[in-house]
């Protein structure tokens, strides 16, 4: 029934008896080395090379690159028709195959995920990734993780992009990035459950206790807190951040916030988990189109934010030439139009509006009406009056300020 006396005392003695200077060995290899080891495993950063690339950086990066006939594309969900008509056209026309993966759900985790490989100079397995302007965009750029783009390889972009999309605030002269699309962060709600919503203040209304969704991205969250208090995020100071954080904490402690969401907020809205939520303009349009729901999206009276998601090439990409060709492909008017017809986000190509009307003429009935409605939608081709209501993200002069911003808002999401 039993194995008596385990561990066997003789074995224990055998394992612990002093023989060949075990203690010396231990002292040498362990204790004294420990101090050295602790100090030796620092995590290397990549420093700040420069906000704008050196003049020869472009030539240096692109020299000796060859086409390989394949692109690995990392994008957010709800950013392309699942049938991928544009990519099929691209492959048919150029022979370059594309593997499209919807692997990006939120910016901070994405940066944290690929940062170690990029630091080590290894490929992240993607040649093209879509990055939102904001804290992580700056981190990618300042770490030297983004390839400087060669404008001469992007004739359609140069010709067709609206002027605003060729000189973005977060990337002057668009050295590292080409916009995929812009979007508006506003409020989505379910009209079956709540009356018409028009103000940010509605997100703080105790009537909707436990049914309000906010975003877990600290910048998105902070922006709404600030705008609700009448603060322009782009001009905000650290005092404003504290005020906004307190206001957001109140929203949370009053039990109004159901949860802080990444891209999954749209699913929570669909399941009835939340009735009102912070939302990205095009998602609501796509959700309604694909699931037959009737959710509404509004730019709040106090304002919404305008952001841009950008195509970028990681510095370690294996197929940069194929990737830049694909980037440019999306700036051909017909492709820009067909993409906007599906995703319903702000289109960076003005000529696409006319193209969408032409596309609509080829369709009939509901399809035609839907495309025409999008071509006239202020969310796809915003009029100046809409732009005037929109705010931009805060930008940070120093890394310390950015950390302070994070530390101010992080605890709201995490606790």
């Amino acid at each position: 029934m039993s194995v008596p006396n385990f561990p066997d005392p003789s074995l224990v003695r055998g394992l612990t008896q002093r023989r060949f200077g075990r203690r010396d060995l231990l002292r040498l290899s362990g204790l004294s080395a420990a101090g050295l080891t602790l100090a030796a495993c620092g995590v290397k950063g990549k420093g700040k090379p420069s906000a704008s690339a050196a003049p020869d950086a472009v030539a240096k990066f692109w020299a000796g690159k060859t086409k390989n006939g394949h692109v690995d594309f990392a994008n957010w969900p709800l950013y392309m028709d699942p049938k991928q008509p544009e990519l099929k056209r691209f492959t048919a026309e150029t022979g370059i195959t594309v593997k499209y993966q919807e692997v990006i759900q939120e910016m901070a985790p994405w940066f944290a995920k690929v940062q170690p490989q990029l630091s080590a100079g290894q490929s992240i397995g993607y040649d093209l990734m879509v990055i939102t302007n904001g804290i992580q965009f700056a981190q990618f750029r300042d770490s030297g993780f983004l390839a400087p783009l060669d404008a001469s390889k992007m004739p359609n972009y140069v010709k067709n992009a609206a002027a605003k999309y060729k000189n973005e605030l977060y990337d002057p002269h668009n050295v590292y990035s080409v916009p995929w699309t812009s979007g508006i962060t506003g409020i989505a709600y379910d009209p079956a459950k709540v009356p018409a919503i028009s103000k940010l203040a509605d997100l703080w209304d105790t009537k909707y206790k436990g049914k309000v969704g906010m975003m877990s991205d600290t910048q998105e969250l902070a922006n709404f807190g600030m705008m609700a208090l009448g603060i322009d995020p782009a001009k905000s100071t650290s005092d404003d951040w504290t005020k906004a954080a307190d206001y957001l904490k109140k929203q949370k402690s009053d039990g109004i916030v159901r949860n802080y969401y990444d891209q999954s907020y749209i699913d929570a809205l669909g399941k009835g988990e939340v009735w009102i939520t912070q939302a990205w303009s095009g998602d609501v349009f796509q959700k309604n189109a694909s699931d037959g729901t009737n959710f509404k999206f509004v730019v709040p009276d106090e304002g919404g934010t305008l952001w841009t998601d950008n195509m970028t090439i990681p510095i370690t990409a294996k197929n940069p030439l194929d990737a830049i060709e694909l980037m440019d492909f999306f700036y051909r008017t017909d492709n820009a139009a067909s993409l906007a017809e599906y995703i319903g986000y702000v289109c960076p190509v003005p000529d696409a509006q006319a193209q969408m009307r032409t596309d609509a003429d080829k369709k009939t009935g509901a399809d035609k009406a839907a495309i025409l409605a999008l071509a006239d939608s202020p969310q796809v081709f915003p009029a100046q009056s809409v732009y005037d209501k929109l705010h931009y993200y805060a930008s940070f002069q120093t890394a310390a300020l950015q950390q302070q911003f994070q530390k101010t808002f992080e605890p709201i999401v995490l606790s």
């Binding site: 055998g14 602790l38 995590v43 950063g45 901070a108 709201i412 995490l414 606790s415």
Partner: protein, 287 residues
Amino acid sequence: MNRVKRQIAPYLLVLPGGLWLLLFFAIPMVTMLSLSLQQGDVVNGYVFTGHWQTYVDALSNYESQLVRSLIYGVVSTVILIVLAFPVAYWIAFYGGKRKSTYLFLLLLPFFVSFVLRTISWRQILTDDGPVLHPLKALGLLPENVHILGTAPAVIAGLVYNFLPFMVLPVYVALERIDPRVVEAARDLYADPATAFRRVILPLSLPGVFAGVLMTFVPVSSDYVNSAVLGSSSTTMIGQVIQAQYLANSDYPTASALSFVLMAVLLIGVFAYARALGTEDVMKVAAR
């Protein structure tokens, strides 16, 4: 020659395990300890400065999540013992020839990934899902009642996911009890309740201890259940560590929190082992 061999043999025997521990335990621990004492940011790199203040800040910022995790851990473990003991008892003493079938049934859900199973619960319990929707439609519950996003939902998920890890060790301990010992107790005029209390229960405690080890530690540091079934008011320390590592790239805070969690869990487990009497545990476990 022979003597030398005999002297080296024990070292050779511990070599594979020792190397394993060195590679996958000691080195990561040292790296993490170093990380927790570094300062900097992810773009410019982290440098070792011996900044122990990180521990103080991390603890004061995330104390509530740590306490919450321990409460969830203790509550879940107690519920697990209460649920698992009768199941294990029944299989061990009344399972008869079908013992292995019952054990197989117990393990059957493990053929599906636990993340998938947890997400399924989310689908079932969601606000307009198959459980709540009919009740709301009948007017039995107000519209804004929800199960998801509450502490009971998270604890239920934890209990559900870790149940077999408690049942199996308890079962093994009970199964080992020699029926003749129980018979002897009865022969000495112990009624069934006394026999259970004085004989079966003490003999099963090492199994319960093993079960607690296998559930309390992972339950307290779990982050999946809280992330899937919980909300911002049920955040557990595992989620904070995960977010600091994998979202905010704040490695020092994440490492410091990991160490604190480890220390707290170790203290808890040792305290429990002491209360139960470790020696007995070792003895019975060795049988």
